[in-house]
Symmetry: none
DNA sequence: CATGAATGAGGCTTCATTCAT
DNA sequence: AATGAATGAAGCCTCATTCAT
């Protein structure tokens, strides 16, 4: 039934992003999104199943495009260590370039109902796979420990990046995310590093 | 006006925890919480300002008690490295021991309105201070790099633990969190370690 | 936001009048008014800001129309004495013709909250101006004393008419208001009279 | 059951007067009155049937005392014309001396529910009888028209005094009520006068 | 006599979704 | 395809009154 494509499809998603960023998730009514997109309330239901679908599609479109781009760019990088560096850069650049999107995906959409959160989770899986790929490549290259648990490591990387961005937004973007890339990369690479260090020993 | 103490105060907070864990944040009506606590709806308002206050208090009581306990236990540990280990243990133990609380604090309360989220954020600050204390101690001890950025590092630690717990809940607590303590500790300590490794060099 | 016009706008106001007259102010719930108006509860909020707005609008529409009509009719009367007679007639006719409206405006709406009472007061100001006009005209004509205090006199006229109507309603409309016009007119005119004049004679 | 007498009985009535005058009828909760009277909530129910009873008793005590005093003082005045003058004086003095009481009886208690209004109405009947007595006496004396309708005339007098006081309160007691006694008396006496009499002259 | 903690019924309003035009 | 007026379910909170102490 829902068209899921076309000029108005995109207009609605962009309007939703702007409205949520400006008014917050709890004040982003369908009618407000419709007004912002310059369509009638009912028109939204010609392009989306329901409001949840708008939100999931918003995340899917924005994040999906980012993941695809990330996959492409990472493919052009040789070593896992450099890929990780590139990943952090891409992650931060992506959100630093679009403050509205950052607010919506990091803060507002997380208040959504279980249905939307589930949709978001599924989209994020692809991103986690990208991270897994880098970790596994590093293990194969021998620059990361052989006994790394990929899932644990992936959660460290994703959890850290996610918390870093959220924190940056909560502080009103007062500093530059990109300035933290080097330090985070070092923390990750040292943490996963194959060399001597076994501080716990 | 609100009493904020007493037998029923605790009964209401515990009832709220159970109801939210079972039905989800969006289906945790005041009347349902009251029924679960075996008090009248109105009684809740003798102990709390409003529904938001119940939720914030729930987080505050549970998390506050945990943070206090953590502070005490960490004070009895000598080295920063061991303190960090202890912190991960406490964090995981705390939530693994009480699946309901884990669901409520990690998943459900994050869907709450801005007011509640603000209250939660303020309580979490104390926890972040605890993490900062460990990082700074490690730097003083010389086991962590002198050029660590405490805030960046704190976000790595908290973000990683948070993501790890959330992930564990989403996977229906199918494995044991405590089994991941060693590996995470190693990732952190190596990441922050003062020794050799400068993978980026 | 609220439309404040249209077929349903009037249907809701009329329904509110009937419901309040029948059940009393304190038992006139929005849902009851909606049912009486044959619209959904939510529809009321397409035409009015809130319940208070319905009540103020009800008074404003009914009283506003009456005042406008009164202004017109009085303009066609030459002398102040006859205008006063006409005013009493109009005042009584208006309320005697519509018992429900009389009950609502004289009895029920006076129990309303401060917000509504304030709205009512502002609308009544226009009516008091009409009375002032008559008194001033009579003074210019020389049929009323030159040393009349317009405000004091206005309060006598309005207070008397108001009390008379309220009393009539409390006695269940058992007699005819119109039968009291002559006597009241005589009391007013003699009271204000510049000398002996017995205008009614 | 209710005692209706004693030190606390009066304390509660006085507290109710103060609370209603300060916070308004709609914010005068039983618990607030109890606190103001320095008794427990439940104690109020040892002296009064219910909240309505408190309000009716408040009106009854204050107004009843006034009416008794008025009856006494008027008995010492010879002519109806002078009695009417005295009545206006007493009415205004009574309320001008106690602004709180004026606000409570003229404004706030009129917002009360039908039960209370009914109680108030019954108490006022005694006052209306006093007015009737003056009018009838004046007719017997021949200074008021023989064809006066006592009820119509009574409503003019009461309605006018009532509206005058209400208006004075709404204008924040900015002027002196007592300054209007002469003019109102003249309006009444001329209005009722059997001929031209200018009683005030 | 006095207390005050506990009760629980009741209503205004929002907003995602539909469907006649 | 597009509109937007209409729908109606659902929940937080207040406060008069009670009754065990």
């Amino acid at each position: 039934m829902a068209k899921r494509t076309g000029e108005k499809y995109e207009a609605i998603i962009d309007a939703a992003t702007r409205v949520i960023a400006e008014y917050g998730y709890h004040n982003a009514q369908v009618s407000k999104i419709a007004r912002e997109a310059k369509v009638a309330d009912g028109t939204i239901y010609l392009y989306f199943e329901n409001k949840d679908d708008v939100l999931i599609s918003l995340f899917s479109e924005k994040m999906g495009a980012f993941i695809s781009r990330a996959e492409e760019e990472l493919a052009q990088v040789d070593s896992a260590v450099d890929q990780l560096y590139k990943l952090i850069c891409l992650h931060f650049e992506h959100l630093e370039k679009d403050h509205q999107l950052a607010i919506v995906t990091q803060i507002e959409l997380r208040q959504s109902n279980p249905e939307v959160r589930k949709g978001i989770g599924e989209i994020l899986k692809r991103y986690l796979d990208v991270i897994d790929g880098i970790v596994e490549k590093g293990m194969r290259e021998g620059v990361f420990r052989q006994d790394l648990d990929v899932r644990i490591t992936r959660r460290m990387i994703f959890g850290t990046l996610d918390e870093t961005v959220t924190s940056w937004i909560m502080k009103d973007h007062k500093y530059r995310l990109m300035d933290q890339v080097d330090e985070l990369h070092r923390l990750f690479v040292n943490g996963m590093g194959s060399q001597r260090n076994d501080a716990n020993a």
